[in-house]
Symmetry: C2
Subunit: 432 residues, 2 copies
């Protein structure tokens, strides 16, 4: 058997410790799949003395992660430091510039600096792999880069953030509002103490930008993702969605519209027959539509030490086998700079919920706002009398351009009779 592939591992949090544990527990299996042993030789983290439940004896230690890039006893660097910039980016640049393969789980860094790093990778002939950056253990990067490689893809949709999915499905299952479920999720480790990155949709948007690049052969373009989180989703929305035969999910969507690219993260109504509707709790799932393969769905655990370590080591096995290939499925220089789709190019049906003063004439004002925006409605219900003098109104629009729906909502929000922020959610079609 060939000599071991020697790993320099930066970042010893949950995932880093998971990688060390996996490489120990499944050493023989990994060696047989890789054609050679894979062994961590050097590590770096902020605190050398923290208790991690793993044995670091025999591993070289670097206080400065950047030094892993050039150590003589390291063949491949695994970057699990996190953060779009800072030490993670320095390490990534130096590793690739030194001609060494880099494996990373860092979606923020790839979403912001993917093209630069892919270019470095191409120039140095040093593989850059990041299966763990999107959807944890699900081999969806491989699925897009390789599995669906023969297809022109029209769209990629996904449930890309387990925290949001856990919160939304708990709200539905237990009939609870957003606040208490978030608090409970934080207490049980399903949400961070500072949850904004997850619940405001940023994390999902980082992942979506990476998926879109792979799907469409375009440059990762995080800045163009329209992002909306789940703070505005109330229990009544989940109940009304259910009445309409839908589940509420935070969905990242990237679609090729002509020569432009539409990217968004937003809570959506997903028809119960759609594969994303069945994805519950902390699971992630990605659905792609290809011109020959049709619809493919990949489902699994989107986070956690075990699944993420599984993805990191899958990349290491591929590198050990000599399977490189360009980072984003084609050389960085050939990635297209697709312009963001104009808002008017996006259309669909929408769910709209408002809180209004319970007095005569309100519906006339609302329907006038819709008429003025050129939006027609398929249904309108007033689910239940609200507290005080408030009432809820839930509408489903016919197919319309998204800017028209947004204009109608903006006009309604300006009405004296409308209180609080209206919620607008796209309704996904069952097919396509």
């Amino acid at each position: 058997m060939s000599p071991p592939l020697r790993i320099g591992l930066a970042g010893l949090g949950t995932v880093g410790a998971g990688v060390i544990r996996l490489l120990e527990a499944n050493a023989a299996l990994v060696a047989s799949r890789a054609g050679r042993p894979i062994r961590v030789t050097a590590v770096s983290a902020r605190d050398r003395h923290r208790e991690r439940g793993i044995d670091l004896a025999g591993l070289a230690w670097e206080d400065d992660a950047g030094r892993l890039a050039t150590r003589e006893d390291v063949d491949v660097v695994v970057e699990l430091v996190g953060g779009a910039d800072g030490p993670a980016l320095t390490l990534a640049r130096e590793t690739l510039a030194a001609g060494r393969p880099l494996v990373t789980a860092n979606k923020a860094m790839l979403a912001h600096h993917g093209v630069e790093l892919a270019t470095l990778s191409d120039e140095a002939g040093a593989p850059l792999r990041f299966e763990a950056a999107v959807a944890g253990g699900i081999p969806v990067i491989k699925g897009l880069r390789e599995g669906a490689a023969a297809n022109h893809l029209s769209s990629v949709h996904g449930i890309l953030n387990g925290t949001c999915n856990y919160i939304l499905t708990r709200m539905a299952a237990d009939g609870l509002e957003f606040g208490p479920v978030l608090k409970d999720a934080q207490e049980h480790g399903f949400a961070e103490a500072d949850p904004g990155f997850d619940i405001d949709g940023i994390d999902a948007a980082h992942k979506l930008a990476i998926l879109a690049s792979l799907a469409f052969g375009s440059r990762p373009d995080f800045a163009s993702v329209a992002i909306e989180g789940i703070r505005g989703v109330a229990l009544v929305d989940i109940r009304e969605a259910a009445r309409l035969g839908h589940e509420v999910r935070l969905v990242g969507r990237a679609e090729r519209l002509g020569d432009s690219l539409a990217q968004s993260v937003a809570p959506c109504l997903v028809p119960r027959t759609h594969p994303l509707a069945a994805v519950t709790g902390p699971l992630n799932a990605v659905v792609v539509e290809g011109d020959f393969v049709g619809r493919l769905t990949f489902t699994g655990r989107g986070a956690g030490a075990g699944p993420t370590a599984s993805a990191v080591v899958a990349d290491l096995i591929a590198i050990a086998r000599g399977e490189a290939g360009p980072a984003f499925s084609m050389p960085a220089a050939r990635l297209a700079a697709l312009p963001p789709a104009p808002p008017a190019a996006r259309s669909g049906r929408f769910y709209l919920r408002l809180t209004v003063l319970d007095r005569p004439g309100v519906l006339a004002e609302l329907t006038a706002a819709l008429r003025d925006a050129g939006v027609s409605i398929e249904s309108l219900v007033q689910p239940a009398p609200g507290p005080d003098d408030l009432a809820l109104v839930v509408m489903v629009t016919h197919e319309c351009a998204e800017p028209a729906a947004r204009a109608a909502v903006a006009a309604m929000a300006r009405l004296d009779s409308v209180t609080g922020a209206p919620l607008l959610m796209p309704i996904l079609p069952a097919e396509g």
Copy 2:
């Protein structure tokens, strides 16, 4: 760009024509992903003059497929002839022996001769790839070989035959019996004129033997798959399953039990919360359970020209990129010869349906048979009065060893009061 990868294509049925169509329609995309153009140069089929809707001008023709193995203008052979033996096997052997990569969709050949062909592949250093052989366009071979490569897998389950899944879900949706649905499926091209290969479970068993080999690093062992098809499933079974919160699906299951391997294809009761329950119509799906990654589910179209061509060309792209790797994820010589699990090692809950004479004392006879076999029951219902003097009895057992359940059924089948063949179906657990 490098010179084209030249393909010799044997078999110009639906899938072969689909491959030619895909390579034409998506030529630029495929070249950019592969790093070089992929071009068919020579073809072979039984009838040169059949109308296939594709242009064969400019392609060399061979009446004898075997000659593709050694033509000077062929780099890779794609075998789409089909059949476990005969011309397909001859072509496969000669191609690999000549040191040329082989791509095939032939599950029967791989299930029966996989070790021999993988050994030839290893000896000659000629890649053998077969993404299209299992689950059509779903990249599940890649998912097991590479995506989940770092994991010890405990099980792989799948809906591997679209014809059976179409029939079972149509029966449920339309309230029809097996016979009329099969007839309708045949008229609409969802079932073959001679449907035995599909509905008797053989096709699913071929695919399962391949998946099991990849999942467990073992030699494909088709002969040890316990196979049962769907002819015995009646509408009443689907209705009773629904009452119990389950769907009926033809499931291929491979599990590692200690040092042995349990493989079966049988109609099963799948809990509605299980990912396979949501798989309807002609879709396929595969669920694997790994020690680090947890449960992964891959879903998509399991057959048809487009999806299968997508899988064939994905393999060609990998070969063009120089990504070889051993056929069954490790060298053939190192594949384990796992003995088949003894029947007693398999246990679970079972669904049992019998038709009995509607007379006193019958239930006493049935429950005595269960007691004698050591099987206890969780529930017993008599769904509806049958025609004539017949009644149906549906039972759900507690967890028991499979041979005990089979012994009880055999004893019941011998009773004078039991008419027709009883049906025994495993009930899958929701988790694991």
